[in-house]
């Protein structure tokens, strides 16, 4: 049913015989932003290595599904708290939007829980514990700033995870699902950015007008601040 532990097999170069030159151009374009990401992440990575010890997130496609599930758990837990204890001065519009986003993120979390449990019942991550002590839930800017960070992180995480999904019949389904979710995360990200400063909905784009992608290691190094449960991401595809 599921090629969970199978190493992704890629049909590299198939049908793209004329693509060599263009691919090099693209790599050149991407080289710049990739280098910047490397520099940025090497600055961040002075804390715990998320790849040692803790709950095994798994490998192959199930590992990627668990990775998405972990991030959706983080987002859903955050917004559940935001909606349960609104910051002072939350407007009606903000309440409406943040409640909608809570609903979407809970839907994503519960979807992954159900889907992974059905596909790989022994490999599904448990419910994680979070540490939100660095967030002042009574302060608008603390909450919206964190929301923006989480949404932008989610977009870069899904954008980076796509290429780690196996080119298989199951993989096509998973990539399709990731695609359905990431654009909703991007809609959230733009809205939150606009709530903080109207017109900043796409300020994340690079010189080519593209969003960026992060690897699981880069994402978990950032998200790790908020995830109390220790995770072992060392078997995730890269």
């Amino acid at each position: 049913m599921l090629d969970a532990v199978k190493t992704p097999v890629r049909e590299e170069e198939k049908g793209i015989n004329n693509f060599g030159m263009q691919r090099r151009n693209m790599l050149k374009i991407f080289g710049v932003s990739a280098a910047l990401i490397t520099v940025a992440s090497s600055c961040d990575k002075d804390d715990d290595n998320p790849s040692t010890g803790g709950i095994n997130m798994g490998s192959g496609d199930v590992g990627i599904l668990n990775y998405a599930y972990a991030l959706e758990q983080l987002e859903a837990a955050f917004y559940e708290r935001v909606v349960a204890s609104p910051y002072s001065g939350m407007s009606a519009l903000e309440t409406e939007y943040l409640t909608d986003i809570r609903n979407h993120e809970v839907g994503h979390r519960e979807f992954f829980k159900a889907a992974i449990t059905a596909a790989a019942p022994t490999a599904v991550l448990p419910s994680l514990e979070f540490d939100f002590s660095s967030i002042n839930f009574n302060d608008r800017m603390s909450v919206l700033g964190t929301a923006k960070a989480f949404e932008d992180l989610g977009v870069t995480a899904y954008n980076g995870a796509g290429q780690l999904i196996s080119d298989s019949s199951n993989g096509r389904v998973y990539l399709g699902l990731a695609g359905k979710i990431v654009s909703v995360e991007a809609r959230h990200a733009a809205l939150i950015a606009d709530l903080i400063s109207n017109g900043t909905f796409a300020d994340t784009t690079d010189a080519n007008g593209l969003d960026t992608a992060r690897t699981p290691a880069q994402v978990l190094a950032i998200a790790g601040t908020y995830i109390k449960t220790k995770l072992d991401a060392s078997n995730l595809p890269s």
């Binding site: 790599l27 519960e110 990431v182």
Partner: protein, 288 residues
């Protein structure tokens, strides 16, 4: 859109297009026979069916997908270029004008990026008729340059369609990790644009059906959130059909995690893809 020209355009980037359709002669014959038998208005659908037959079983090449993306980006870039500075645009607030310029700039960058990636294989920019009149200048969106609310309605539809179009092609470029990641990195930017345009439309509060308010940055059910004229509404609705899904990979989302998980919330949380054929049928009236 001249369909024979499209076949020629596809042939430039996919020399096997006629092989996929058995032969050029048969493709032309099939098309001629189709055109003779059916009403003009149905041609895009018949063409889509033929295209589907040719490509349905075969994954389009990465180059074909990139040219498809480039064509959509040409459309968006020229649309925003046309409206910036137009009478309708000049009635908007400074913040709204700034947002439209930002989006125009992003779309122009997407065009430049895809052209760089495709190099000599890049298709040329088509001629557009943004009234959706196929060159007559008298389609359902005639006069769009004068009416800001119509410009935003069109912008929303183009952005939401773009999101669905990229989403539909992700699996077709899986074999090339670099192209897949680039496509995803554009896909999410289109979604950011859609989110903001929807906020602008909500603030303007024009051309939104009363029973579809409040308009959200995300897509509720299959609501376009747009009403303008019967012809325009019908054209726009094609970009929102099938967005109302509430079951994903066999999992019913309604009720998951709480009673707040209504059909509306469940549909909003997941955007749905469109096939290449569906998108070509949507943009066809805009291409001369």
């Amino acid at each position: 859109m001249n369909l024979q020209n499209i076949l020629s355009e596809i042939e430039k980037v996919d020399p096997e297009v006629y092989g996929r359709m058995d032969s050029r002669r048969r493709a032309m014959k099939e098309f001629a026979s189709i055109s003779g038998k059916i009403a003009l208005a149905s041609i895009p659908f018949a063409f889509s069916a033929m295209f589907n037959k040719a490509y349905g079983q075969v994954t389009p090449s990465v180059t074909a997908v990139l040219n498809y993306a480039l064509t959509l980006e040409y459309l968006e870039a020229e649309f925003y270029t046309n409206i910036v500075g137009s009478p309708g645009y000049l009635t908007a607030s400074a913040a709204a004008q700034g947002a439209l310029r930002k989006i125009r700039d992003d779309e122009n960058k997407h065009v430049a990026f895809l052209k760089t990636v495709l190099g000599a294989n890049a298709v040329a920019k088509p001629t557009f008729d943004f009234t959706a009149g196929k060159g007559t200048g008298a389609g359902p969106f005639a006069g769009y340059l004068d009416v800001y609310a119509v410009q935003l309605a069109m912008a929303q539809t183009f952005e939401d369609t773009g999101v669905r179009a990229y989403k539909g092609q992700a699996v077709n470029v899986m074999s090339d990790r670099t192209v897949l990641t680039a496509a995803l990195n554009i896909h999410s930017v289109e979604a950011r644009h859609a989110s903001h345009i929807r906020q602008m439309r909500r603030a303007l509060d024009a051309a939104i059906p009363a029973d579809q308010k409040p308009l959200k940055p995300w897509i509720t059910l299959k609501n376009s959130g747009i009403t303008y004229s019967p012809a325009a509404d019908a054209a726009i609705q094609k970009s929102y059909n099938k967005e109302e899904m509430t079951t994903q990979a066999g999992v019913n989302i309604i009720g998951l995690g709480g009673s707040f998980q209504t059909d509306k919330a469940a549909s909003e949380g997941f955007d749905e893809p469109l096939t290449m054929e569906e998108v070509l049928s949507i943009v066809d009236p805009f291409i001369v």
